[in-house]
Subunit: 268 residues, 4 copies
């Protein structure tokens, strides 16, 4: 038996609430009776546009459509601050994290925590992060960011052993666990910029940490980035819309197919 | 026994997550061990700044500080779309509501639903709403709003009987239920612009609807705006940071004191 | 003898100032020695991005590249307020125009001037304009616009005789003068939405007004929108990047070719 | 004979264009017949709001009110890119300056030019500038800035001799020329952060460079920041709304009084 499949951006979805209940359209196609929606992005837009799309996705869930990933966990994983305290509250080790909108407080804490990483609150795969070894240079950057109305998320830098780890979880299965090697002279791995993923034997505690992070976040599937620090593994980021090209090559698994099969199994 | 009380905007709060747990400061004053925080506004700011403040409030709740109102319901009541489907899902009557980012879909639905009210998604007390009796004039305004990256929330206009109702709920108590009279030639009441609140006898079903709305939204206290339509009462809006000046005058009750007492009772 | 022609958006242009003078690149192609640049748009972007592109175009002119249209007049014609006082200062009739950021002042003046047209300050071809016959409805819209940080440009509405006029000027030549008929029940013509341009005999004073408007604005070529009011012709808008599809059909002239020929003639 | 003096922000000014000419109000006070307006800032606001205020100031000049500084030069000095090519076109030495919106081009040029200074396009007194000694760290910051829709203005860093110079010009007079000493371990002087201005003997060529910069920019009065590089003096910035507290202390001159006297002399 087949499925009817439609694809489109969230800004193309309209909704109607009336006495007959809730109805949804993607463009002109009614999708009210669809069972399953894979959410990959809220798309670019103003605060008000993105707010509508988030509420729209929650509305679809309220009306009985299964979302994978679910809206609230998806939104949370986009928000790097929310991710940190959610993991921390579940007892998962994370880097020391300070958040503020005060330049004076940022200066004080950076002096204590240096070297530090600045993280944009809304981002993915470490994009827009900066590392600072010097408090004055960090403060200069904070002033620039503050003028652009950006809050400051400041993390203690943790020395990595030349690589970090990506664990890819789908439901109760770990479909991949790979090392990403960090190029000489860089402070982070970056598969998008030519870094390589390599599948090697991984300690069970690392895989276990991936599962714990996915569950703490409430995500059906995700990529969990883990760093092996001198004091044990630390979760850096949980990605609710992870890419899988590098992983597919490293593991030779059909990741997209596995996610779709998982999704279908949840609504049958 | 007294209380230590501090007041300040959410942008003045900083937070730290480390192995010792979570810590919070308002300016330079540590507030980690505070029991209770009254949340009245996230303040003005960029998407990223407001995102940090929302996450900060949720972080404080995760760390054991009682928030009144709680962050998630507070955020939801700011979002007029989320408010509508939450009330609807709880079986509470609301106006017919269409949301879209498509001008073509907005045109079609407005033609069907005219007269209509445009509602900004993030607003309070009906600010920024517009009423349209003509589809072409509405469409002109939609085009202007779309150029300003505003999604369209369009509601069927419900003829009012010259007044609407504000029910003020704190916990399990209705502390006030008043009529707001709509000035001649206007389509909405507006206490801020000189409209008057009058305490009169109110049907029990109206009070009951106020309680149901507050509970559906998960709010500790709120003002619920109700319209008596020809088909029965309809909830227009739920305000999680309601003003109380007009209500205080109409009811001669010390609303602020009642909210504080309620809050304190929740943490003792 | 041929020309090397490159096309691209302004955001793709980079510039370098050094002791050797100024250099420019479109993408990776150096365009420092180009003679002529047709400017059609600054493109979408943040205040800072658009500021760079405007300065970049002026920089190219300073460095000896001919721009058509020239940057300053082009920027001015995008700005509907600047357009109005420039035309007025040259003695050209325009609608009565009020500008403010004060809701109270807007209310007072609208009461005096009703019916009125609201015009967005940055727009073209009347997009985003709204007509109001009622001061309260206008005020409602002003409040919405003010919440979105939009200044108010308010013009007295001038009754049109069922059509308005587009005069298309290139250098010293009027290459077209057409009527645009306004559909029944609408308040403005809109060729983009199916309105039709018709070439008919035109009074010389209309053509003359087109030339005067182009010169007052300092534009090499432009489309001038004129309304025949009971008190004589009035200039509504001057478009420095006019479309020509409708005009081409009405006049059977190769407008694009004429603009290019004009441009080349200016640099030879 | 006295003067009527009003003070207020540009957003409080409204304007009207009608057949009777142009009229202006500051709040409710008509200022149409005022002779002189000192422009110190366009204030904070959206692109559209600031556009209105710039056009409003030009409108006032068109209508016969003397502005000091004049709108176009004032606007130009806010724009750090426009400032650079204007000075360069007048033969005034400036640092090597590259502007782009392309991360790839920014990377290439930074590799060539390192060490570099990033400058925000709209800023004053060097606020928001960052210095980079390492191309990869610079590139990381560029990516962050690009995500925030900021164009890149990149200047070659010029080693300073431990101090830079502020020359203060009013009309045909140099009212002050002081050294600002750069604190140990910093790369720029910053009087706002406790740096000190000292009046010492200054070479005539420095003063002359200040006059040339003021004239190239078309400013009635300004502060010109000059660096003594190994290859001779270089102009870093021209400030059209300079503060004068530090200068007043260093020179014991009543700067504000001198500016007002200059302004009045221009309209009598």
């Amino acid at each position: 038996m087949g499925h009817i499949v439609l694809a489109g951006p969230t800004n193309d979805i309209s909704s109607l609430i009336s006495q007959e209940g809730s109805r949804f359209w993607l463009g002109k196609d009614e999708v009210t009776d669809f069972d399953l929606c894979f959410l990959r992005s809220f798309g670019p837009g103003s605060t008000e546009q993105v707010t509508r799309r988030i509420s729209l996705m929650e509305h679809m869930e309220t009306a009985g459509i299964k979302l994978i990933n679910s809206t609230y966990p998806f939104r949370r994983s986009r928000d790097k601050y929310s991710t940190q305290y959610t993991l921390h509250a579940a007892g998962i080790p994370i880097p020391k994290t300070f958040t503020t909108e005060s330049l004076a407080r940022a200066y004080e804490m950076t002096e204590e925590m240096i070297p530090v990483i600045y993280k944009p609150i809304l981002s993915s795969m470490g994009r827009g992060s900066m590392k600072f070894d010097d408090t004055d240079l960090a403060f200069n950057a904070y002033k620039t960011l503050d003028r652009l109305y950006q809050p400051l998320i400041i993390q203690g830098y943790i020395k990595n052993p030349g690589r970090d780890i990506r664990v890819f979880i789908i439901g109760d299965e770990c479909v991949g666990a790979v090392y990403k090697y960090i190029p000489e002279g860089h402070w982070k791995s970056n598969v998008a910029q030519g870094g390589k993923m390599v599948e090697e034997e991984m300690k069970p505690e690392i895989i276990e940490l991936g599962f714990r992070a996915a569950r703490a976040m409430g995500l059906d599937y995700c990529g969990v980035d883990i760093l092996e620090s001198p004091n044990g593994p630390v979760v850096l980021e949980v990605n609710a819309a992870p890419g899988w090209q590098g992983l597919k090559e490293a593991t030779e698994k059909e990741i997209a197919k596995l996610i779709v099969e998982y999704g279908v199994s949840q609504v049958e």
